[in-house]
């Protein structure tokens, strides 16, 4: 799940982890009530600072995506449909932004990009 975590990126690790978990919850990869690995387990598994994992979990809790229960661990909250939709929308915008930025660097015009988009999505719905 966390194979994309890149310590060299400008985005802090805790943000990357929180983002990944957020979209996983929104997409239903992680269901409500499911337990997340403990801070200790995840830190050890990913070989990153435990404080980083703790920060990610805290951020998720602040956003209402998870619940940290003393002594028991961290569990996925039952995020309302609207919350999940909002997260998916947010992530979609993030993906498009990345694509547009890269296209811009390679001098691909917005029209060319739009055409490619339609082509790919069109072929997918078939």
């Amino acid at each position: 799940m966390f194979s994309q975590i890149d310590a060299r990126s400008a985005t802090p690790l805790y943000d990357q982890i929180a983002a990944r978990l957020r979209i996983a919850i929104a997409a239903g990869e992680l269901v409500a009530g499911e337990g997340l690995p403990s801070v200790r387990q995840l830190a050890s598994q990913l070989r990153i600072n435990p404080a980083t994992v703790a920060q990610a979990y805290r951020d998720l809790e602040a956003d209402g995506f998870v619940e940290m229960r003393q002594g028991a661990g961290t569990f996925v909250s039952d995020v309302a449909q609207e919350g999940r939709q909002q997260e998916r929308r947010r992530h979609a915008v993030h993906l498009v932004r990345k694509m547009v930025a890269e296209a811009g660097r390679l001098r691909i015009s917005p029209e060319e990009l739009r055409a490619a988009f339609t082509e790919v999505l069109g072929s997918r719905s078939k």
Partner: protein, 300 residues
């Protein structure tokens, strides 16, 4: 006790060749502090000074709130040390080494030792000297962790190891850290490893401490800027520092800076210049730029 390690104006010299001058280290309790520097920059010497293996010429060292080397035996009971080179008796088996350490450290935890033995897949009846490099490194880490120390001082613990051994050692270390509030002082020249696990960073070069701050802060502030319309001799606004400058045309410069903050673009505009592009540098590039700048004498 707010800091696990404090040194003030630490000085050391060996003949004429090497010196450490005015080292002011500050390692907060509970931090994983990465001590970064090129080979030969003085990292191992600093560690030896911290642990009382070498005597400083001047300055003070406070470890876990107590002065070194005055209170060395009491302090060392709470410190786990993994040196660069294997330092244990090669004629003893792993089991005998465990028994040896257990006799000296009041905090020794046999159940942790046993569990790490299994985790590291070490043969307890094997002579220490007959193990592979990775196994020796694991044994030394095991001995340090099973003491349940408050402070771990690690000198390049994964250097030269195969990826599997490195992974096992780091996992065990992080698991241990996650359980309590041990402080870790890890010296390394492996920037990528440091980037993952450390929350504080100290950069050393040629006996001097160039930088000492939270890792995220350093990373956020290190940028490459492309500027145009710059008046000659312009410098970034304080507290940002210029690490390197490339002039491609009059007014067109590429700066590598440290401690850059977004509002500073305003001061650049005030000079009549524009920031054409701002790129984040990864830690390795930042580290190289920092070292280069120091060696040329541009920083401080």
């Amino acid at each position: 006790m707010s800091d696990a390690i404090i040194t003030a104006a630490l000085q050391y010299r060996v003949g004429r060749s090497f010196e450490i001058s005015h080292l002011d280290l500050r390692v907060p309790t509970g931090a994983i502090y990465g001590f970064l520097g090129a080979n030969g920059s003085g990292k191992t010497t600093t560690i030896r000074l911290l642990l009382g293996l070498l005597r400083a010429r001047a300055g003070t060292i406070t470890l876990l709130g107590q002065p070194m080397p005055a209170r060395a035996p009491e302090i060392l009971a709470r410190v786990g040390y993994v040196p660069e080179q294997p330092h244990l008796d090669g004629t003893l088996t792993v089991q005998e080494l465990l028994q040896f350490q257990a006799a000296f450290y009041p905090g020794w935890d046999w159940s942790l030792a046993e569990s790490l033995l299994g985790q590291f897949d070490l043969d307890r009846h094997r002579l220490f000297g007959k193990q592979s490099k990775g196994q020796k490194a694991k044994t030394m880490m095991l001995l340090a962790l099973a003491q349940r120390p408050e402070l771990l001082v690690l000198d390049e613990p994964t250097d030269g190891l195969d990826p599997v051994a490195r992974r096992d050692i780091l996992s065990a270390l992080l698991e241990f850290v996650a359980q309590g509030d041990a402080t870790v002082f890890i010296s390394t020249h492996l920037v990528h490893e440091l980037e993952r696990i450390c929350d504080w960073i100290g950069v050393m070069d040629n006996g001097h401490l160039l930088v000492q701050e939270p890792l995220l802060q350093l990373k956020r502030g290190v940028k490459r800027l492309q500027l145009s319309g710059l008046p000659a001799g312009a410098t970034p606004p304080a507290p940002a520092t210029l690490l390197s400058r490339e002039v491609s045309a009059p007014g067109m410069e590429t700066w590598t800076v440290r401690a850059w903050e977004p509002p500073m673009t305003g001061s650049i505009a005030a000079l009549g210049a524009t920031v054409l592009m701002e790129t984040d540098l990864d830690l390795e590039d930042g580290f190289i730029a920092l070292l280069r700048a120091f060696r040329i004498g541009q920083t401080r």
